[in-house]
Symmetry: C2
Subunit: 447 residues, 2 copies
Amino acid sequence: MKRLLDSGGRVIYPVNSSSSEVLGVKAYGSVTGIPGTIDLAVIAVPAPQVPGILQECVQKKVGAAAIISAGFAESGEPGRELESELVDIAYRGGLRFLGPNSMGHMDSSTCLSTVAWIKELKPGPVAVISQSGNYGEQIIYSGAAVGIGFSKFISSGNEADLRLEDYLEYLAQDEKTAIIAAYIEGLREGRRFFRLAKETTVRKPIIVIKSGGTAGSVRAARSHTGALAGSDEVYSGAFKQAGVIRVTDEGELCDVAVALLHQPLPMGNRVAILTIGGGLGVIAAEACEKAGLELAVLAPSTVARLNSYLPDRWSHANPVDVAGVGGARREIMYNSLWALMADGNIDAVLFQTPLVFGADHIASIAGFNAEETLAYQQMLKEQLSTVAQRVKEYGKPVFMVTAVTDAEAYPFLRGVGIPIYSSPYRAANVLRHLCWYYRYLNSASER
Amino acid sequence: MKRLLDSGGRVIYPVNSSSSEVLGVKAYGSVTGIPGTIDLAVIAVPAPQVPGILQECVQKKVGAAAIISAGFAESGEPGRELESELVDIAYRGGLRFLGPNSMGHMDSSTCLSTVAWIKELKPGPVAVISQSGNYGEQIIYSGAAVGIGFSKFISSGNEADLRLEDYLEYLAQDEKTAIIAAYIEGLREGRRFFRLAKETTVRKPIIVIKSGGTAGSVRAARSHTGALAGSDEVYSGAFKQAGVIRVTDEGELCDVAVALLHQPLPMGNRVAILTIGGGLGVIAAEACEKAGLELAVLAPSTVARLNSYLPDRWSHANPVDVAGVGGARREIMYNSLWALMADGNIDAVLFQTPLVFGADHIASIAGFNAEETLAYQQMLKEQLSTVAQRVKEYGKPVFMVTAVTDAEAYPFLRGVGIPIYSSPYRAANVLRHLCWYYRYLNSASER
């Protein structure tokens, strides 16, 4: 109720049997006693009272309800019966509902939230459907930490009436949503899901976490939402056929989402690595190859161009190790980057360079005074803005990779839309997903 | 030179052919012209001048040098000859040296740093040897971000004289060092390394990143330090036999180091998962099983104990899903944790719970006033301190796993020595390494 009040602009009618006022708002003894018409009922009372309340909603001609209350199918036989009752009442009364056992839902474009733990959320293009409220929270927190904004959040709960497939159908045509992310334990309408997914992924990426890859997780999912996890191989194959990007956890989900939001898809899997340090390049090469990417062979013209910028000792091959000139003479790094982006043998660039933005940090490393520090920051911003711009021009993704950075760097990088990854393994893994998705779209458009 | 001056307490003699003063300190025209005795020469002049300088050092009876200068074996034939010259001069003159092509070295106990980018570093028990200066920087930054303190850092460079094996031998007996971490491209004295490692790991963990798992990374390593990467299978087998923990990148290295520093080794691979949310438990179960860990079967007495704390709807099995009571009634979570720690069927606990510490954050979620917020923070601190204490008592590790946290949580968790992981995959992977190391130590002590 506090969340609904906070968002403002709505008429809220608390219903409570024992108080005439809730959080300073006049309360009613029953739903039917409310004077106005009602768009949405949010129900959070003990389970045995829910059927009665829902019946009142039907009488009051309420079309939609969010049932937060738990203690239904997830808690054993009596709860299962209670849940059937809800479905009957809603079906006969023409009411559709979320839950029960849901953590609520949120729409950032209308500032509607029935989720207790979501007070403020950066609006943005990613929608999340989660068959676990807590896991949904984990996704939202992980996303917020890397600057992702969200359009909708739906904790689908027991899915007694509205199901993940319904939300997917809605989000597929939602203009505020560019990417759909889902945490899935089991699908109640598998065929419908995969049909919808196939129609959707040619326009909007779908990223899913589907548990059930091991015996223990299947058991745990059954005890959690009663979901039949199904054969993992079957799911895996169906996701692939429908163009759905499957990830293992929320960290990977957010990594992929950030890349999809800000980078073009690579048109192939030939990667160039540009690095300030040989060792970094070695690990990046290993990360790329382990992810099934190919180390691009530089075109002779690119080698010639790099020869004109770089000292003789540069690696003369991919990974492009600029051999220590990255620090003091940064423009050389960026000139080398432009050379790689222009090379037709290269589909994507993995760019390893420290990104130190904080004034104190810069001063402590380089010994700069305030003026020099400011000039350095300015130069860095211009270079990175140019990277973002050329990524668009060439339609070729550039992934920044470094752990050598600071808190001040992130807001700027997010502002210009450059994803940054702490390790080449994370970056290579994301690139792998993007390459796969590009190939999928390509073959889908040929069909 | 700025780094050396900053640390204070040392007499620094700049040597420069063109200035009589460097950074405000009287400079000398040659090493031999310096009046006092010299403990360490730090050499950062163009490569062709290094042999002459080193010769002067020998004349001046300097016993040790750190050669930062690049342009030696890593840069082709003329450099290789120059490097041989250095070795000859040093050998004949009884001088030992670091590098060349090194980024310097650092000793936090004496505040000595010849590393340009290390200004301040939290002292601590982890020593790092890196065959790549930049990769070493990546390790140090990643470690600092998760609160690791460092005893020594050595960028071993071309290892013309002193080699990784020498540094390992030194660190093995260094009292300031409890864990040795290394980035390795290739070993010059493989047999010696593995003999030393085997002697060391029974007392001190060694964690290594060894590149060379793919063709491209082998090629890149050869071009970087000229290292012969060797067969990855041979290395892998030798690391295992010597009790060396092998990781893929600096993120994993730091995850493992944090756990080794703060947690006892699990005496087996039977893991219990304690979670506030079913979905979180499902993914954690999958992460554990994929890492080769076993989901512990709860002892009947543990189930009975949990029955007495938890509502009927709890999962009654591992993962232990407390079914939504984690939020409001947190003591129940911790009582459940004590029950799991006391269970002889359980070797380690993975504990999934939000850890919200920031006052604004708590207030926004729970609607607490200032006093209630303070009380909540106090309670959280007491509970977590008790966790840390019981971990010691039981000798059983507890890994906290959550992305639902804030910047304010970390300093406190570090203070009491509780590692926190953003994802169950990271935690399960660390646990896998720790289980393996325990088994290694156990079988080593039997031999």
